[in-house]
């Protein structure tokens, strides 16, 4: 059991900055995030894109913002449970909460701060009616272990980096045959990834099918065949036991929606006094919350986190007077 003062769900910019503000008040934090790395959308969707509305940074790359936040909170030694999503929350008799992830990791804290952004990132699934029948029976949205595909026939769909990189990797002596199906002739991935795949296709090591998409799946219990619709050549049936559609990730609020919190417009309602939710001890900050006048901006998340930890402190230490720390006086004293 991991125990901490403030359990933060979501390691995006708001969740990360919460560690700093909590640390100033000598409160320890632990963060849970479904992604394998900290940074949330900033590291997952647009690490190389500049952000222009962070005070004092006329321009900063989203990836650099994440790195700088990690550096800023380092003195406070936050704990991380990455690559796991928070699934259930149970209130204990002493008023604390136990949050359990999809992998069964348990976390105990008197305060839970939900900084979940737009939610848990899940693979985007192509709109094929009977697709769910073949999930984990030949259709996989994530390649967890490439060895699984050794000696097998694999069809990959998508035009981004993950589709290109995996197609290249699997076609390089791992899988028996690899076909990459993509809607257009050009790809979104990095130029060198695109070139590597093109070269392989030219050498006959990879079956590149462009201007085409997988529109159907069939099989008897397990996947046997995908139906590929080509722009000019019509429909082609391809025998395969493995189809990996790689169309990126999209966020879903997920299990948090069932925690008994007041929710409107897919966001958690909070009191703007301290960003508390309708459940005593649970707060919601950043893009995941809503209130009159809400703006989903990183800088608003920072402000919300700062006010939230004051309220959390008062709850954890009801006997102590509220404290306000100016970092200008003593600097930052870590743990």
């Amino acid at each position: 059991m991991i125990e901490t003062d403030i359990l933060i769900i979501g390691a995006g910019p708001t969740g990360l900055f919460t560690v700093f503000e909590a640390g100033l008040l000598k409160l320890k934090c632990h963060l849970i995030d479904s992604l394998p790395q900290a940074g949330g959308q900033c590291s997952e969707i647009y690490p190389k894109k500049p952000i222009y509305d962070i005070p004092a940074y006329p321009e900063i790359l989203a990836g650099d913002l994440t790195d700088k936040l990690m550096e800023q909170i380092e003195p406070f030694k936050p704990g991380f449970t990455l690559g796991e999503s928070a699934v259930t929350i149970d209130k204990q008799e002493d008023g604390s909460f136990i949050v359990t992830t999809n992998r069964g990791t348990k976390h105990k804290a008197p305060i839970v701060a939900i900084a979940g952004g737009l939610g848990v990132f899940e693979p985007r699934k192509p709109p094929i009616e009977n697709l769910s029948e073949f999930e984990d029976k030949g259709v996989e949205y994530i390649i967890k272990d490439p060895e699984f595909y050794r000696g097998k026939d694999v069809v990959i769909s998508g035009g981004g980096d993950s589709a290109l990189d995996w197609a290249y990797f699997l076609a390089n002596g791992v899988a028996k045959n690899v076909a990459l199906v993509h809607r257009r002739n050009s790809f979104r991935g990095h130029l060198d990834s695109v070139q590597k795949v093109m070269d392989m296709a030219e050498n006959g090591k990879l079956n590149l099918i462009t201007e085409a998409e997988v529109v159907g799946v069939s099989g008897n219990g397990v996947l046997n065949e995908v139906l590929v619709k080509h722009k000019t050549q019509g429909e082609i049936k391809m025998a395969t036991n493995h189809w990996v559609p790689l169309f990126g990730l999209s966020p879903k609020l997920g299990p948090i929606a069932d925690w008994g919190l007041n929710i409107s417009k897919n966001s958690i309602e909070v009191d703007t006094f301290d960003y508390s939710t309708n459940i005593d001890g649970i707060y919601a900050i950043g893009d995941v919350n809503t209130y009159p006048g809400k703006l989903k901006l990183i800088l608003c998340g920072f402000h919300e986190a700062t006010l939230m930890v004051q309220s959390a402190f008062a709850k954890i230490h009801p006997d102590k007077k509220n404290v306000l720390k100016y970092t200008t006086v003593n600097g930052v004293n870590g743990f």
């Binding site: 959308q41 998508g158 990126g248």
Partner: protein, 109 residues
């Protein structure tokens, strides 16, 4: 000042048409216009043509600027794409030329 406001129509996923006024002098795009009227457009990436959550179909004959390579590439990763009509709302900048534009929100993929 009147001249700096254009009218656009957004048909939501239930088929309801919303007639909206959009300012041409605020450097806005269709994703932002939809969000400011609280229509169900996610705009996850904040308008950088990186997520396709503002995918919409252009239903009017309005002359639009060509798609950038980024937009084309992102639409390739989207679902329910109509080669003739599909655009990313965040890449449709509100200019006087867009007056009377009609768009329909694409299904959520």
């Amino acid at each position: 000042m009147e001249d700096s406001i254009i009218k656009v129509t957004v048909i939501d996923r239930e088929g309801v048409a919303h007639e909206l006024e959009a300012p041409t002098d605020m450097n806005m795009n269709m994703m932002e216009v939809c969000k400011s009227y609280e229509l169900p457009v996610e705009g996850t990436c904040g308008g950088m043509a990186m997520c396709a959550s503002c995918h919409m179909y252009v239903e009017s004959e309005t002359e639009l600027p060509e798609k950038s390579e980024d937009e084309e590439d992102m639409l390739d990763e989207a679902f329910f794409v109509d080669d003739e009509k599909s655009r990313l709302g965040c890449q449709l900048h509100i200019t006087p030329e867009l007056d009377n534009l009609v768009v329909k929100l694409a299904p959520v993929g």
